[in-house]
């Protein structure tokens, strides 16, 4: 789960990371009030889960509180990469003498959190990594001991010459590691970490991605989820315990298991169709999940045919069949449904479907070919 900058700032500041003052606003008048409190020039920043905010016009400098209000007026409601901006962050415009990058990511290869720092900050770090990887210093941290003082200092010296600034940066790195481990993050990032004309080291931006698996344990973090930043169908699916991702095609897919769901989408494409979604009903045997899945998919007008691909293991195929029959009793499905099921209790499942005049196929290829053909007929 991605946090907004203002939410990440709160967690950073709680951990003691030095950041400029600032506050969030949802209306132009609130923005004006925040700018007045801060005094001087401010920056108005769109709070949205999309990169390239600046290029899209979502970050503006304001010399006065009324100018801040004017910028907020334009930015609030702006659409950046399909997402509507509902909040702006107002922070003082800092004078900057240098920009560095400090980030912590979960590294699959070393199976450790890895701290990455670069004196070339303020730009897309992936680009730096691609074009001049030598400008990035990395350190895999052993979670048994944490980030040791000398390690942080060594990375500080990779950024600055002044020992005061090195110490300040080392402290921020240690705090950033703390935020990562204490909140179950998969990414904590400051870009840029700046120095000011007075020599201060400050974090000007804040980015945190949380591990979704931590949210059950941490309701305080779970409340930070911004459901307005997600497609409503994806929110509904998550609440029902499904994983749903909307795609561009017209073949709706309901599958058990993430790997099989991806392979099903790929096979739809292989046979000349386009998947309308990724949908994993998971390993449970709850017919209600199937009802919700079908409701979400049928609501999408671009869906011309629906495929069920169920390989019963923990999932009982008769439960899925009951879910399909139950859903059809509750609401009308206008598009053709092709069902493939095999595995646990498949004889029972086939009987349940045949009782209502439906049939089930046994093979995945056969089912996918059929659903692609049905979608083409209907399109």
């Amino acid at each position: 789960m991605n946090l907004h900058e203002y939410q990440a700032r709160d967690l950073f500041r709680k951990a003691g990371i030095k950041m400029p003052e600032g506050d969030v606003a949802t209306t132009p008048s609130e923005a004006e009030a925040v700018a007045r409190t801060l005094g001087g020039k401010v920056v108005v920043k769109a709070q949205v889960h999309a990169g390239g905010r600046g290029k899209a016009g979502g970050v503006k400098l304001a010399a006065t509180p009324s100018e801040a209000a004017g910028h907020a007026e334009k930015i609030l409601g702006m659409v950046i990469k399909d997402l509507v901006v509902g909040k702006v962050l107002i922070v003082p415009a800092a004078e900057i003498t240098s920009e560095a990058y400090v980030g912590m990511i979960l590294d699959r290869e070393s199976q450790r959190p890895v701290l990455m720092v670069s004196a070339s900050g303020g730009v897309d770090i992936e680009e730096v990594a691609a074009t001049s990887p030598e400008k990035i210093s990395r350190l895999a941290i052993d979670p048994r001991y944490g980030l040791l003082p000398h390690q942080a200092m060594a990375l500080g010296f990779a950024l600055y010459e002044d020992v005061g600034q090195v110490r300040a940066a080392a402290k921020i790195m240690t705090q950033l590691y703390g935020v990562f481990m204490d909140n179950g993050a998969t990414l904590t990032e400051i870009n840029p970490l700046v120095t000011t004309p007075t020599g201060e080291v400050l974090a000007l931006d804040a980015k945190i991605t949380l591990d979704d698996n931590i949210l059950e344990r941490r309701p305080d973090l779970a409340t930070l989820r911004d459901e307005t930043a997600e497609a409503p169908s994806e929110v509904e699916a998550r609440r029902a315990g499904l994983t749903f991702i909307k795609l561009e095609g017209n073949v709706g897919c309901v599958v058990n298991g993430a790997g099989l769901a991806m392979a099903t989408m790929d096979l739809v494409k292989y046979y000349g169709g386009e998947p309308a979604n990724f949908l994993d009903i998971g390993g449970s045997s709850n017919p209600d999940k199937v009802v919700t899945a079908l409701r979400i998919i049928t609501r999408d007008p671009s869906v011309k045919a629906i495929l069920f691909n169920i390989f019963g293991g923990i999932t009982r195929t008769d439960d899925v069949a009951n879910g399909i029959v139950g859903a059809l009793e509750q609401f009308k499905v206008e598009v053709p449904i092709v069902i493939r099921l095999t595995g646990t209790n498949e004889q029972e499942a086939i009987r349940i479907l045949e009782d209502v005049g439906m049939t089930a196929l046994n093979g995945m290829d056969e089912a996918v070919e059929q659903v692609v053909a049905r979608a083409k007929e209907a399109a």
């Binding site: 979670p143 599958v255 790997g259 392979a263 095999t342």
Partner: protein, 306 residues
Amino acid sequence: MSILVDAQTRLVVQGITGRDGSFHTAQMLEYGTVVCAGVTPGKGGQRFADRVPIFNTMADAVAQTQANTAVIYVPPAFAAGAIAEAADAGVGLVVCITEGIPTVDLLRILPFVRERGARLLGPNCPGLISPGSAKVGIIPGNICLPGRVGVVSRSGTLTYEVVNHLTREGVGQSTCVGIGGDPIIGTNFIDCLAAFQADDATDAIVMIGEIGGTDEQQAAEFVASHVTKPVIGFIAGQTAPKGRRMGHAGAIISGSSGTAAEKMASFEANGISVMERPVDVVSLVRERLGETPRHSTADQASQRTS
């Protein structure tokens, strides 16, 4: 023979009295796995299905039953603790089925597990099965067939799909291993490839990967340098969009890396035959076993494919 589990496996089930634990323990017993103990704190002294003794702690279970393998069905909040307890009790293999364990828990626990000399499989995995001798986890036993093809996969039901194709065509398996879909896992492709390479009862290896990370690329390089047996590969997620987590926590294309195209190209460049569809597994395995294996005689090869 087989890898990781066999007829010598003596299994202890952590969370044996829970909903998932009890259901799958019954399945494992039915398959013939030696389930010698269960652990549920507070239920020590009871028995599961009138036969499997339940203990309060892993230390007691291992001391009294000489269990050498553990399987975990406890809820995510307690799973990392259960992994550590199993490793501390001295079992060699710990299989964690539980899905939804916070990654930071694993980061903290993995070094401990390795210090104790244990191997973790998973978490968030279907476990493994050596058809005909032992099933540890949740892979349905009826879709497997004893034989000489090793299967290793990041997925659950997709593995069943592929294994089912093999079995229907009479191509049996030595061991099928699900390594799990999380970004941090205890056993990776390379560990399994090395084990299959060393296993006399395995002639070919099927590797099922997916988008996200670079494990498949590293595995492909390992195949080129260390594996003489034929390897057939599949990558799920060719149609997956960038930046979206496709169900599995580890299945996400970040930036330009982790795409299916990149992984398939890496497979091909390193001598791994790539399946376009799961159904292609049978013809590719047969085709590759038809060649003269670099480690074996042509005579044996022809016997296998007959």
